[in-house]
Amino acid sequence: MPMQFDASEEDLKVWLAEADEQIELLQNDVIRLEKDYDDAQLVAGIFRAAHTLKGSSAMIGHARMAELTHAMESVFGAVRDGKLKPTSDIVDVILQGVDGLNAFRQEVVTKEQSDVDLTDTVNALHHIVEEVGGTFARMPGQPAPAAAEGPAAAPSAAPAVAGDGGILARLPLLDDEREAIKATVEAGIPVWLVEVNFKPDSEWLAVRSFQVLTDLSNIAELLKSQPTAEEVEAEKVNVQLMAVVAGSDADKIAQTVNSVEDVALSRVDAYLAAAFAQAPAAEAAKDLVPAASQAPVPESPKQLEPSATKTPVEVAARPPEKMAQNVRVDVERLDNLMNLVGELVIDRNRLQQIALQLETDLGVHDAIDALNEAAQHVGRITDELQEEVMRIRMQPIESVFNKFPRLVRDLARKLGKSVDFVIEGKETELDRSVIEKIDDPIIHLLRNAVDHGLEMPDERRAAGKSETGLIKLSAWHEENHIVIAVQDDGHGIDPEKLKASAVRKGIITQEVADRMDDRAAVELIFAAGFSTAAKTTDVSGRGVGMDIVRANIEKLSGFVTIETAVGRGTRFLVKLPLTLAIIRALLVGLGGQKFAIPMATVVETLRFEAQDVRTIKMHEAIQLRGRILPLVSLRELLRLPPLLYPAPELLLPAPSDHASGSNGSNGDGQEPEGDQSSGMEDMAFYLARPRRSHKMFVVAVRLGDRQMGLQVDSLIGETEIVIKPLSRFLGDVRGIAGVTILGDGQVAIIVDIPSLVNRVMQEQLLA
């Protein structure tokens, strides 16, 4: 069913951005309620988020959302007031509510009403509050309360200082209004003058004004306001709002008003008979300065805390808050910027190459010097620009980590396990491109830890551990990498069991298993089609194995290692580059084609004589500083035919048939048009002169905690490259991490060494 909202598209965008913030806060903080319900700040934050959502969803006319947030707010209110202790069951209900909020939020995006029905949840929330004898704050539109708080708090208090822009000066009353107020005061009901100043940069003043008015009428009787409720509806609003209300007390009013988002400063004065008496026409006249500019902006809000007498009350809305000089930028723009910088990096490389070429070809020349200088300058600026853009794109990993407490909690509850989940280092920053992609692997590792890593409480007790298992998720920087660790104190991985299971599943033979050391055995967990749990649960046994986790991490140019001790626990370490957009790579040549290998996997480059190669257990290897480095040819990994190599001039006419064997001086022999018989196959590849070179070039690469030597035809050098994705059109080509444009304009393939090597190793394991 299509839905309509009382807001323009633009406003809905703002609404969504803000709703996201509040929902995220709820998501992150609600589960902390179980443990930290006495943390006043936490509860206040949660309450405020629900409250803000309530107001803004009512504003756009999302009734179901408003109803839900209202119910949630009441529960949070009860917690805040110490009436309610949030048990796990209660938190479950609240979390249902949070899920509902997400669904409702989605409705605003799609403009389609979902079939989500939260009546039960809302009722359950109501019930929770009623149980503890709480009552609901009324929804807007419900009858106002008898507002008699007694006159105790009122007129005797200090008078509003005349001349400092007393509120009445800017809120002229009509005669009948004055009469009404007079009557109210005489009836012993305190009347308050409320002034609210919003942050000047608040994007949605109308909503805020609406919230303030709604909230005020919830606790007191709204006698007059400027702008009026009708004006607010029509979005005729200002950064300042003034109101006259009857009932309640100054503290409560201040607190209520300040709990609204974007309130910078508020002030509550008692309406005094005296002020009333000298109807302030004259004062109004001399006080025509625009209200907004006059509103005091506190340097240090502390000084403005309510005074002992509490009246007038002038309170800064929020804890110390410096005027943030932030600009919100669309993520897409940031990505574009990064792409542009990427292009610039390519051109910088190109410029430097041209200058170098000219120097080699033409020797010393003033113009070349000048070009060189300019190229270097462009280079420097590009470097700085790149660094700056990268910095802008850096985000704390928090946004990812914050999703996990809920995940771990729900999972543990489902499995009947008790888990203490600890997060460390969530302020660690890394590039957006990485942040977007690390969710899945971490989720999987966490699920694995809860499901397979930790024992059931009774097993833990029997093993002399505390019943509550510990799962620690941490992140830190290490050189140009970020390391993310998922650690549990469960039963660890038993290599023998793993081997037995792998043999049973036909992943390795018994013979291979017998030869395998513990370390290699533990790595079996990453073999395709492996799952350590005796039974598959709906939690982690959904067909996605650790092999996929490893593959995904390696796709990000990262790697994952395991540390485990039987009976003590397991730690998975994921190491990732800080960014995926621009990386350093080693260029190598295979035939005429250049390939890029990400430096993250490169340990060193080596030059060997052909006779240094040994054959060990049917595999080629070389000895390097007393170690054996297994060798594999990059050609083989890429399934390029040996001795044949693809010509860079693939589409140019190839040597005609008779030439392909004998006339192989080089591949550039242009053949006149008309030789229609030679097929494309012949053009794609042609025979290289058999090269009896004794030198061979090897790139030592890191794969997990092992190393391997990649044999290549030539080593070209190290350079910075901008990763571009392989066109969707090519499908999922294995072993290719992306493509890049080199300084000379050539397109080069970025090889995904781990996935290539894993494939070979798996084939060898099976063999």
């Binding site: 292009e343 390519i346 084609q593 890429l638 399934r639 390029l640 693809p646 860079p648 001039e649 693939l650 589409l651 140019l652 006419p653 053949e671 048009e673 008309g674 030789d675 229609q676 030679s678 097929g679 494309m680 053009m683 794609a684 571009k724 392989l726 066109s727 969707r728 059109f729 090519l730 499908g731 999922d732 080509v733 294995r734 072993g735 290719i736 493509v739 890049t740 444009i741 304009g745 050539q746 397109v747 080069a748 393939i749 494939r759 084939e763």
Partner: protein, 156 residues
């Protein structure tokens, strides 16, 4: 489609005439060196650098199973774009751009030449000849066949 004048680029593939609606054609460029992609399907010639954008080049003759001819003077790459996807297509020659009146166009189902029917959108009558107007979505679609799966190493 029907009711509007259509402009098509007419080109030659292994001696047969085909056409492509001009709104999908970004530009027509000369043959240039490509970087082969190891492990990609055989009709993928490789990648070219088109002013900073890496564009895959497909050989339509291989894709359609037509006999191959050597690349000649008149060979071109037609750069085709559908929404955000750009692909270059190698053709033997580009002859002209012509206007096709709506009544000169028929749905493809009736007449099908050597090319798999799904690649053809309509048949247009151009200067007395029936010309297959290709379906650009289909050209840009990635559909691994059993054979390609082997090439891609997913069917091992």
């Amino acid at each position: 489609m029907a009711g509007e004048l259509q402009q098509v680029v007419v080109f030659d593939l292994s001696g047969e005439i085909y056409a492509l609606d001009i709104i999908y054609v970004n530009e027509i460029i000369r043959i240039q060196p490509v970087t082969p992609v190891p492990g990609a399907a055989d009709y993928i010639e490789g990648l070219i650098n088109l002013r900073g954008r890496v564009v895959p080049v497909v050989d339509l003759r291989k894709r359609f199973g037509l006999p191959l001819r050597a690349i000649g003077e008149r060979s071109r790459i037609i750069v085709v774009q559908v929404s955000d996807d750009i692909v270059g297509a190698v053709v033997d020659a580009v002859s002209e751009v012509v206007n096709v009146a709506p009544d000169m166009v028929e749905p493809a189902a009736k007449v099908v030449s050597g090319v798999d029917a799904e690649y053809i959108r309509t048949i247009a009558k151009i200067e007395g000849h029936l010309v297959a107007v290709l379906n650009p979505d289909k050209i840009l679609e990635y559909t691994p066949t059993a054979e390609e799966e082997v090439v891609l190493g997913t069917a091992e």
